[in-house]
């Protein structure tokens, strides 16, 4: 009888530890992917001033667009929370598209070697951001499901684990990307 009681207590303790570890693993996964996403977003924000500089050399009259993209970039760098970062990301994608639309009007700019290199780099970074966003949202989906379903939701309350916010999708990402 005593052995059975001990076994039940050990079993319950193991269950509590197991669920705790599960939540910690999932939370850490979200933090890891979030850190990677930040690193890639930083790459984008580092590229934007260089791109603006090159565009300025050919299209100095497009001050409004250039200033707007720089302000979006600064907003992106200042963003701390996921909803802020998501909002800044949507704006950044729009701003970059506007900048490339400006470039379309200047054939010399389009032919510029440095501009083409920066454009290709930015395309590459956008593709990486898209992958990181998807990875982040997949990790969030996993932990949020665990927080919502019975009986894990009871443990989540006990351990004070709450749902994580999703990273907003940009308009371009709602459509199927080119690659």
């Amino acid at each position: 009888m005593l052995i059975a009681l001990i076994l039940v207590i050990v079993g319950i303790a193991l269950m509590f530890i197991g669920v705790w570890n599960y939540f910690m693993r999932k939370k850490n996964q979200v933090y890891n992917v979030s850190a990677s996403l930040d690193a890639i977003l930083k790459k984008r924000y580092d590229l934007i001033p260089n791109l603006v500089q090159v565009v300025k050399g050919y299209a100095a009259y497009e001050q409004t667009v250039l200033e707007s993209i720089l302000s979006i970039r600064n907003e992106g760098e200042r963003a701390r929370t996921i909803p802020e970062k998501g909002l800044a990301d949507v704006k950044a994608v729009k701003g970059i598209n506007q900048l490339f639309a400006v470039a379309e009007r200047y054939p010399d700019l389009k032919a510029d070697k440095e501009f083409r290199f920066l454009q290709a780099s930015l395309n590459e970074v956008e593709e990486q951001i898209s992958a990181a966003r998807r990875a982040y949202n997949a990790s969030v989906q996993e932990i949020n499901t665990a927080v919502a379903v019975f009986p894990l939701n009871l443990f989540a309350k006990l351990y004070k684990v709450t749902a994580f916010p999703f990273f907003a999708l940009s308009d371009s990402e709602r459509k199927v990307p080119l690659f």
């Binding site: 990677s36 290709a120 992958a131 998807r134 990875a135 997949a138 990790s139 990307p177 690659f179």
Partner: protein, 327 residues
């Protein structure tokens, strides 16, 4: 890619003359094979006549002798048919396979005796079993547009038990089929492998649990496309990089390609290359001695198989490279 109509024109304008010559040779070969078979049947009938009169006592001896002659005959037939058809097979491959490869893409080269190296096979990381015997044939290689591509038939086996009392060895096939390597249009540093999803298809949610337990393969990557998840299971060394490779549209392309192949397909991504392994029991590029070589529908099967393999470049959009691998 070339269409069936274009191939039909190529068949009648360029291949048919050479095929008519080959067809004569095939008929000669078929004649000799029938002669050998008839001789075997005749020998069996003669033996039946001889032993049939010797009564019940000899019946068991008769079957033993017949069995041994049968085995001996099979070996002789095998050797003879291989020997006499060797030259025919070589000519067939030069005319038909080489001709079709060059028709589809003139910059590709075909070598019937070469194959994907063992090192490349290993690099794919798709099959981790120890390989004790490795062979192949029918290598096609070259550049299709911007993309370097090579593929061949491969058979990789491992010895499952040492020699038994009879001196026989048992071999287990690790992979038999077509193995393809192509330059991928994105630069990456990690490893992503895609297996046909047997576990989830058969066991459902329980299968997902098994997938998660294959830890030595890296992280299980759960993707957003339910159709893709139904057919494939993905493991990767880096969640983000795997998703960088497997963009939503690329997943659709892989699904479509799997549909075209019509059987399970393995994919892997390493060293900025894509590896595609298509298991098949069929020997894709060998002539069929029982079928008429001047028949368009028969030769079209070779065109279809080669188009499917070379077409991987277009099907997966590997030639479009505006990213880091821009040349």
């Amino acid at each position: 890619m070339k269409t069936t109509e274009e191939f039909e024109r190529f068949f009648y304008n360029h291949l048919l003359t050479d095929l008519a010559e080959l067809e004569k040779e095939r008929n000669r070969l078929r004649f000799w094979i029938i002669v050998i078979l008839l001789l075997g049947v005749l020998l069996a009938v003669v033996l039946l006549g001889l032993f049939g009169r010797s009564g019940q006592m000899m019946a068991s001896l008769f079957f033993l002798v017949l069995f041994m002659i049968g085995i001996g005959f099979f070996y002789i037939w095998n050797l003879l048919s291989k020997g006499i058809s060797k030259n025919f097979v070589y000519r067939f491959k030069r005319v038909v396979i080489d001709g079709i490869v060059r028709f589809i893409e003139p910059s590709l080269t075909y070598n019937p005796k070469s194959y994907i190296t063992w090192l490349d096979f290993q690099r794919s990381d798709l099959f981790r079993d120890r390989v004790d015997r490795y062979a192949g044939e029918d290598l096609v290689y070259g550049r299709f547009g911007e993309t370097e591509i090579r593929f061949s038939e491969i058979k990789a086996e491992k010895k499952v038990s040492s020699s038994n009392k009879k001196g026989e060895e048992r071999w287990q096939t690790i992979f038999k089929g077509t193995f393809l390597i192509a330059d991928f249009h994105k630069e990456f540093f990690g490893r992503t492998v895609i297996f046909p999803d047997f576990a989830e298809n058969v066991f459902g949610a329980l299968g997902q649990l098994f997938q998660g337990m294959r830890l030595n393969r890296g992280e299980l990557i759960k993707l957003e496309n339910p159709e893709f998840e139904k057919y494939f299971v993905v493991y990767g060394s880096d969640q983000i990089e795997s998703r960088y490779i497997l963009s939503p549209s690329f997943m659709e392309r892989l699904l479509t390609y799997r549909g075209k192949v019509g059987s399970p397909v393995f994919f892997s991504f390493a060293n900025s290359c894509i590896f595609v392994a298509i298991p098949t029991k069929r020997n894709l590029f060998e002539p069929d001695l029982l079928k008429n070589l001047t028949d368009f529908t028969h030769i079209k099967t070779y065109f279809d198989d080669l188009s499917l393999l070379i077409g991987v470049v277009e099907d997966l959009n590997l030639n479009t490279r505006i990213w880091s691998k821009q040349s």
